[in-house]
């Protein structure tokens, strides 16, 4: 029994490893995975390949090849900046999903959300994730700011990156606030009413800003369209530009601050 089984197992194993070798040796595979990719045939853990992993990846080359040893300590950064960025990505992905099922009009918005929750596969789950990740992002961006302040990391040469960071905090709040209106339920309507009433008290141009943002003197279907466009397009667009500058400046200013 075992005598017949073992050769069979070995045969299958050999065939699998042959297939892996053939795939990894193919032109297509090697054209996709650049030198240093851990998926390439014969990847070894060498300093050269460790550098290639970063240099030859469009995503990872946000990072330098090497960083100060203290910079990789989780206890220093608490990962807050990275988590904020990751939550932004998670929100983009879940948000795109939600956009397929949502129309920003006063007559359709609430019904669309209701249908999404009751009739769309994973609709409720994805909406929940979008909502909770949004609150988490506000929290993590805020905590990131606290962390940076307590480490004195805003000091020269990082002054301007701090300014960009404060702008990003405000964009985060605006992203969250514009999204708040979109379900068009009682919570959304009245929370936004309270918020925008405060805005109207800004001296000189407060009333005008409020009028432009609401698309009228009161919240209505025009407001919904405006805030939808702000929420899914304009604010993310501006935020991405600011994030790009923020990350670029982190490296140009000599990596993260410290050690203390």
């Amino acid at each position: 029994m075992t005598a017949t089984k073992e050769p069979l197992g070995q045969k299958v194993q050999k065939q699998v490893s042959d297939l892996v070798d053939k795939t990894q040796g193919s032109q297509a595979w090697n054209s996709i995975f650049r030198p240093g990719s851990i998926f390439r045939k014969g990847y070894t853990d060498s300093p050269r390949n460790r550098s290639y992993v970063i240099m030859n990846s469009v995503l990872y080359h946000l990072h330098p090849v090497k960083v100060k040893r203290h910079a990789v300590k989780v206890s220093y950064t608490l990962c807050l900046g990275g988590l904020s960025f990751f939550l932004f990505i998670l929100l983009t992905v879940t948000g795109i999903f939600l956009m397929f099922f949502y129309r920003p009009t006063a007559s359709a918005a609430w019904q669309d959300i209701y249908t999404l929750q009751t009739s769309v596969t994973f609709g409720l789950l994805v909406r929940n994730m979008h909502r909770w990740a949004a609150h988490l992002m506000v929290l993590s961006v805020f905590l990131h700011m606290c962390r940076v302040f307590y480490h004195g990391a805003y000091k020269a040469p990082r002054e301007f990156n701090w300014v960009i960071g404060v702008m990003l905090l405000q964009f985060t709040l605006l992203l969250s606030f514009t999204g708040y209106l979109l379900p068009w339920d009682q919570l959304a309507l009245w929370a936004v009413t309270v918020g925008t009433n405060m805005m109207g008290y800004t001296p000189v141009f407060g009333e005008q800003v409020r009028f432009v943002l609401l698309g009228g003197v009161e919240i209505g279907t025009d407001t919904l369209l405006r805030w939808y466009v702000l929420h899914v397009l304009m604010l993310p667009f501006v935020t991405v530009i600011f994030m790009a500058i923020h990350f670029w400046r982190v490296r140009k200013d000599g990596g993260i601050s410290g050690p203390l």
């Binding site: 990072h63 090849v65 960083v67 609430w110 929750q117 909502r131 909770w132 701090w162 309507l189």
Partner: protein, 261 residues
């Protein structure tokens, strides 16, 4: 063969002829006197022009003289005596001590090349940093996913302009402002105070002139920020959990929660 420019080649040829004439050709007297004079002149020149301190120059001359075996009375005399025999033996265009090279300048390390006195302790981003980032991203995704399975996002009834909920609350991060509205004029609470806060926050790196990053050197900055953060945290807490119908103060354990995320 490299190409030598015409004028340089001519100049070199002339110099070579002159040298041959001085060394082999004519009688001994002019041959010896001319380089000696030249040497003396150049020594005088260098003494005037160079930035070598006078006492060091004297010392080096004395040392050379002693080496040459001459009995020295005064330093300038020694220089002349030393220069003459040396010049006789040395090839053309030598310096005062018969040197064929001169030290032009000393380039300190670090002025051209960035020499790091303390090598920095660095690690590869892959795997040291990326692994931590993957784990963090995985944990936050798992947390959001599991939380979303068990807790639903609120969806109240359809928006109704004719029915104002009591209390009406802003999103939680604006509840500090709404709380301020109960104490101040709307312009002060909604614009002046948060506006000043934001401007101060943006200007923080330009106002804080203290270069140190150590917590023990920044007691004032840290205290100020902590007070600022606590101020908002307390206001948000009160606005979120301690405000009931009519935005009146209630205790959540008595009146229940009036809070939606």
């Amino acid at each position: 063969m490299t190409e030598i420019p015409e004028h340089l080649r001519k100049r070199a040829e002339e110099a070579r002829k002159k040298a041959e004439a001085a060394a082999g050709g004519g009688d001994a007297a002019p041959a010896e006197s001319a380089p000696a004079a030249a040497a003396g002149e150049s020594a005088g020149n260098s003494e005037a022009a160079s930035k070598i301190p006078a006492h060091l120059l004297e010392r080096s001359k004395a040392a050379k003289a002693a080496k040459a075996g001459t009995d020295v009375a005064t330093a300038p005399a020694a220089a002349a005596v030393a220069a003459a025999p040396a010049a006789a033996a040395a090839p053309v265009a030598t310096g005062p001590g018969g040197h064929t090279q001169r030290l032009l300048t000393v380039v300190k390390s670090g002025s051209i090349q960035d020499v790091k006195s303390v090598p920095q302790d660095k690690v590869h981003v892959w795997p040291h940093l990326l692994v931590a980032e993957f784990v963090a991203a995985g944990v936050i995704t798992a947390f959001t996913l599991i939380f979303s399975i068990f807790v639903n996002a609120p969806l109240l009834e359809l928006a109704n302009f004719n029915e104002t909920p009591n209390p009406s609350k802003a999103p939680w991060y604006f509840l500090g402002l709404q709380e301020l509205l109960t104490m101040f004029h709307p312009m002060v609470a909604g614009v002046t105070i948060p506006g000043m806060g934001m401007i101060l926050l943006i200007l923080a790196p330009y106002l804080d002139k203290n270069p140190s990053q150590k917590p023990e050197d920044r007691k004032f900055a840290i205290s100020l920020m902590t007070i600022h953060l606590m101020f908002w945290a307390v206001l948000v807490m009160i606005g979120s959990f301690f405000r009931g119908p009519g935005f009146n103060f209630v205790f959540p354990w008595d009146a229940g929660l009036f809070f939606e995320l």
